[in-house]
C-alpha cells in the first residue's frame, strides 16, 4: 500500500513539472501554436501565400481562433494524404505521439504531428505551384537542380523521398536547453528557431509539406543531447536537424551527423568542432572569434595589458581563453591568469581577490549571465572594478543582464554576432515580429537571432529542393548558399569544406540610461582576420 502511494507521489512529482512547466511566454506561444493548428485543422482559412514561408509579412494563414484543441489532439500524421498539415504543435496538451512520451521534463512540451486537413491540401497545391520559382531571398543559386543518386527516392516524386519525409510532412529534429543550470534563459534560444519554423507552417508549409518539428531537451549537457539526438535519428527517423543552439550538443553531434549523413542546418557555431563537419552548417560565430575580436578591440581602444579570464570549464571556454591570449599578446598584453567556474561554486570571490592582488586592468569572461552577474555583484561587494571593467562572450548578451549586474556592471562589453538590439533596421524589425508573434516576451540575444536565421535558411533551402527532398540534396544546396542576407548583419556563404560563414562580431556595452542600464552598440561589424579558413 505504501509503495502504491509512493508511486503516486513520485509520478505526480515528475509529471506535474513536465506538464505545467514553462514560462508565461512559452505557454502563450504554445497556446498560439495550438490555436494555429486548430485553425488549420478546422479549415480556418489557411490559404498559403504563393511566396511560401519566406514572405513572412504576407502570412494570412492560420488566424488564431478559439476553436479548441482539436488540432493539437490529433495524434499522427496522415501519411497518405496529399498536403497535410503536420505542425509544430504542443505535446504538453496531451499528445499521443511517441516523441512526447519519451521526452523528459520540459522536453515534453515539444511537439507532435497534427492532423491532415482540407486546408493543408490547399496549401500543398499552392506550395507546389510556387516550388520551382526559387524566389525566396537568399536562396542558393543553383539549389533546384536534382542530385543523381539521391537516397530514398524509391517513391514517387513528392512522396516519401527520403527518411523522415512524406507527401505531407518533413520530420525535423531540434534540441533546446529547457532545463539544467542555464535552462531558465536557454529556452528562449530554442523558441526563436521554433517560432520561425512555426511561421513557415502557418504560411502553408514548404511545397505542400508541413514541418513536423520534434523537440528535445539537453539541459545544456552534451551527453543528454547526444542521447536525444540518437533517439531522434534512430527511432523517430527525422529527416534533418535544424537550429540547435546548444554548443554542448552541437559539438559532439557534428561527427555523428557526418557518419549518418544527416544535415544540421543552422547550428550555433559557438564551438570549433562544428566547423569540421561536412554535414553541419553553423550560422553564428565561434567563441574563438569572439575572443579574437574582444582582445584586439580592448587592446586598441582600452589599452588592455593585464587580463584575467573567468570561464566555464568546457572545451569552448578553454578555447576562448587560448584565443584571447594569442591575440592580446600581439598587442603587448597578456592573460595574467584564468580561472574555471562551475555552476555549483558558491561564489567567484577567489577570482576577484586574485584580480585585485595582481593589478588586473581587464576582466574578460566566457560565462552564462547567471555566474557573470554573481561575479559583478561580488566584485561590487568588494568595491572592486578593474580599469576596463568587464567583457565577455555572447553568453552575456541578454537584454535582462544589465539590470541584474547593476551599477558595477556599467561599462561591460559583450560580443554578439548580429546587429545589436538597440539598432532599428528592417531586418531586426522583421526578426522581432516573427519571434514575438509566438513568444511575446522573448529576451533577444545572439542565439535567438541565430535560431531565427538558421530556421529561415533551412526553410529556404528545403523550398529550393522542390518536391524531391533528400538529405543529400539539402546538404548540396547548403554547400551552395551564397551571400545569404538575413537582414541582421553578416551575409552568409557556405561551400564544401568551408562552413565558417559568420566571422563577424558586434560589440555592445552596458550603459546607464536614466535609472536603468542597457546594452548600446559601440563597435561593429568587426571581421575576424585571425579565424581559421574552414
Amino acid at each position: 500500500m505504501a509503495s502504491r502511494r509512493l508511486f503516486v507521489v513520485l509520478t505526480a512529482g515528475l509529471m506535474i513539472p513536465a506538464a505545467c512547466g514553462g514560462s508565461a511566454a512559452q505557454r502563450a506561444a504554445l497556446k498560439a501554436q495550438s490555436q494555429n493548428v486548430s485553425a488549420q485543422g478546422g479549415g480556418g482559412g489557411a490559404a498559403a501565400p504563393s511566396g511560401g514561408y519566406s514572405s513572412g509579412d504576407s502570412g494570412s494563414a492560420a488566424a488564431p481562433s478559439d476553436s479548441g484543441s482539436a488540432g493539437v489532439s490529433a495524434a499522427t500524421p496522415a501519411a497518405g494524404s496529399s498536403g497535410g498539415s503536420a505542425g509544430v504543435s504542443s505535446g504538453g496538451s496531451g499528445s499521443a505521439s511517441p516523441a512526447a512520451a519519451s521526452a523528459s521534463g520540459s522536453a515534453g512540451r515539444s511537439n507532435t504531428p497534427s492532423a491532415a486537413s482540407a486546408a493543408g491540401t490547399a496549401s500543398g497545391s499552392a506550395g507546389r505551384t510556387a516550388s520551382g520559382s526559387g524566389s525566396a531571398p537568399g536562396s542558393p543559386s543553383a539549389a533546384a537542380a536534382p542530385t543523381p543518386g539521391a537516397p530514398g527516392g524509391g517513391n514517387a516524386v513528392g512522396g516519401a523521398t527520403d527518411v523522415g519525409v512524406t507527401a505531407s510532412s518533413i520530420k525535423v529534429g531540434h534540441i533546446g536547453i529547457y532545463s539544467g543550470p542555464v535552462g531558465s534563459f536557454g529556452a528562449n534560444l530554442s523558441y526563436a528557431g521554433r517560432a520561425t519554423l512555426q511561421e513557415i507552417n502557418d504560411n502553408g508549409g514548404i511545397n505542400g509539406r508541413k514541418l513536423d518539428v520534434l523537440v528535445r531537451d539537453d539541459a545544456w549537457d552534451g551527453t543528454k543531447g547526444m542521447n536525444a539526438a540518437r533517439d531522434l535519428v534512430e527511432r523517430e527517423k527525422i529527416f534533418a536537424f535544424c537550429c540547435i543552439m546548444s554548443v554542448n550538443t552541437s559539438d559532439p553531434l557534428t561527427p555523428y551527423l557526418d557518419d549518418k549523413k544527416i544535415p544540421h542546418i543552422g547550428a550555433d557555431g559557438w564551438g570549433e568542432p562544428q566547423y569540421k563537419g561536412a554535414w553541419t552548417f553553423p550560422v553564428s560565430a565561434s567563441a574563438v572569434t569572439e575572443a579574437h575580436m574582444l582582445a584586439k578591440w580592448q587592446a586598441q581602444n582600452q589599452a588592455a595589458k593585464r587580463v584575467a579570464i573567468l570561464y566555464i570549464n568546457n572545451p569552448t571556454g578553454r578555447a576562448y581563453v587560448k584565443a584571447y591570449d594569442e591575440v592580446i599578446k600581439k598587442f603587448g598584453g597578456e592573460v595574467v591568469f584564468s580561472q574555471p567556474a562551475t555552476f555549483d561554486d558558491p561564489g567567484t570571490t577567489t577570482f576577484i581577490a586574485q584580480a585585485r592582488t595582481q593589478n588586473i586592468d581587464t576582466i574578460s569572461t566566457y560565462l552564462d549571465p547567471g555566474i557573470f552577474t554573481r561575479m559583478v555583484r561580488e566584485a561590487a561587494a568588494q568595491n572592486y572594478k578593474p580599469k576596463n571593467a568587464f567583457s565577455g562572450a555572447a553568453g552575456l548578451y541578454f537584454e535582462v543582464t544589465p539590470n541584474f549586474t547593476g551599477p558595477n556592471g556599467e561599462g561591460t562589453i559583450a560580443a554578439t554576432h548580429w546587429e545589436t538590439n538597440d539598432q532599428d533596421t528592417p531586418g531586426l524589425r522583421k526578426y522581432k515580429a516573427t519571434v514575438e508573434k509566438y513568444y511575446p516576451k522573448m529576451d533577444h540575444s545572439t542565439w535567438t537571432k541565430a535560431g531565427y536565421v538558421g530556421a529561415t535558411i533551412f526553410g529556404n533551402l528545403v523550398k529550393s529542393l522542390g518536391l524531391e527532398v533528400t538529405r543529400q540534396r539539402l546538404k548540396d544546396a547548403a554547400d551552395r548558399l551564397n551571400d545569404f542576407d538575413s537582414g541582421l548583419g553578416p551575409h552568409l556563404t557556405w561551400s564544401p569544406g568551408h562552413h565558417r560563414a559568420n566571422k563577424t562580431i558586434y560589440l555592445a556595452q552596458i550603459q546607464r540610461s536614466g535609472d536603468k542600464f542597457e546594452y548600446k552598440k559601440i563597435a561593429g561589424p568587426l571581421v575576424d582576420e585571425y579565424a581559421e579558413s574552414n
Binding site: P17, S23, P181, S184, F351, A353, A381, V400
Partner: protein, 299 residues
C-alpha cells in the same frame, strides 16, 4: 600573508554556505532517518514567495522573508502529514523528497511573473555595506556576516536542542526506535511535524540568507546540495560538529586550490568527491559497515 588571510576569510564564507545546508540535512536524517534532498527546492519556493512580496508587492523586507519562511514551514508540515507519515520506510521517503524537489523546481516556472527570466535580484536592506578585513585587501559584506552569525546560531541552537531538551530527546528517540519511543509515551505524530517543519523552515531561511549574496533562481541555490551532501557524510549524517568541520575543510581546500594552484584546473571541483571517497573508506576501514550504524551515537 595577504593571500593567506584571503584564503581563510573566503574559505569561511563558502564554508558557511555548505554548513547551513548540511545542518538542515543532518537534522532531518538524525531525527527521521530520511535524507532530505528537497532542501534546495523548498528554499527556492520560499525565496520566490519572499521576493514576490518584497519586490513586486512592496512589502517590507523582514515581513516578506517571514512569510517566505512560513511557507517553507507549512510545506514541511504538509509533506509530513501527507507523505512522510503515510510512507513508513525512510528510504522511500528519501525518494519522495527527490520528487518534491523536482515538483518545487517546476512550480517556480508555473507562476508566470516568477519564471519569466533566468534569475531575480533579491537584495537585503544591508546591500552595499561591508567590513574591510585588515591586511587582506578584502572586504566582507554584511550579508555574509549575517550568514556567518546564523550558522553559529543554528549550530549552537540545534546542538543544544538535540542534546539538552526533552523535545530533542524525543526526536532522537523516535528516530532510534519508534516502537520503544511510543511505549515511553512519546507521540510521534507530534514530534515528526516539528522535525519536518523545522527542517523545511531552515531550508527557507538558508535561501533568504544566500539570495542577497548570490541570485535567486531555481538552479544555482540547489546546486550546492551535492557538496553539502558530501559534507554531511563527513559527519556520518548525524554529527553537527563534524559536519561543520567538514564544510570548512571542503571550502578551504577549494579556495586554497583556486588561489595557490590556479593552474590545477579541475582539482577544485574534484575535492567533494575526494573527500567523499576518503570518508567512506575511512569509515569502512574502521569497521563501520554502514552509516546508519552510527545513528545512535551522541552528537
Amino acid at each position: 600573508m595577504t593571500k593567506l588571510i584571503q584564503t581563510l576569510v573566503i574559505g569561511l564564507e563558502y564554508g558557511c554556505v555548505y554548513a547551513l545546508i548540511a545542518m538542515g540535512m543532518v537534522l532531518v536524517y538524525r531525527t527521521t532517518g530520511v535524507l532530505n534532498i528537497a532542501h534546495g527546492g523548498v528554499g527556492v519556493l520560499a525565496g520566490f514567495v519572499a521576493w514576490d512580496l518584497n519586490t513586486l508587492r512592496g512589502w517590507p523586507y523582514f515581513p516578506a522573508i517571514a512569510v517566505g519562511i512560513g511557507v517553507a514551514i507549512s510545506s514541511g508540515l504538509l509533506f509530513e502529514r501527507f507523505v512522510a507519515r503515510k510512507v513508513p520506510n525512510p528510504f522511500l521517503v528519501t525518494v519522495a523528497t527527490l520528487a518534491l524537489f523536482l515538483l518545487l523546481q517546476g512550480l517556480v516556472f508555473v507562476i508566470p511573473w516568477w519564471g519569466n527570466t533566468w534569475g531575480q535580484v533579491f537584495n537585503s536592506p544591508f546591500a552595499n555595506r561591508r567590513v574591510a578585513i585588515p591586511g587582506a585587501d578584502y572586504a566582507v559584506s554584511w550579508d555574509q556576516l549575517i550568514l556567518f552569525g546564523n550558522v553559529l546560531l543554528f549550530f549552537g541552537g540545534l546542538y543544544f536542542v538535540l542534546r539538552r531538551t526533552r523535545v530533542g530527546l524525543a526526536m532522537r528517540a523516535v528516530s532510534d526506535d519508534p516502537t520503544a519511543a511510543r511505549l515511553m509515551g512519546i507521540r510521534q505524530k507530534v514530534v515528526a511535524p516539528v522535525v519536518w517543519g523545522l527542517a523545511f523552515g531552515l531550508s527557507g531561511l538558508t535561501t533568504m540568507l544566500l539570495a542577497p549574496i548570490l541570485l535567486l533562481d531555481n538552479t544555482s541555490l540547489t546546486a550546492f546540495t551535492l557538496k553539502a551532501l558530501t559534507v554531511t557524510f563527513v559527519g556520518g549524517l548525524i554529527s553537527l560538529p563534524l559536519t561543520v568541520a567538514g564544510a570548512m575543510t571542503l571550502s578551504l581546500l577549494e579556495v586554497s586550490t583556486q588561489l595557490y594552484l590556479p593552474n590545477a584546473r579541475g582539482l577544485s571541483d574534484a575535492w567533494p568527491f575526494i573527500i567523499l571517497i576518503v570518508v567512506l573508506v575511512a569509515r569502512f576501514t574502521r569497521g563501520t559497515k554502514a552509516l546508519e550504524d552510527t545513528a545512535v551515537a551522541p552528537a
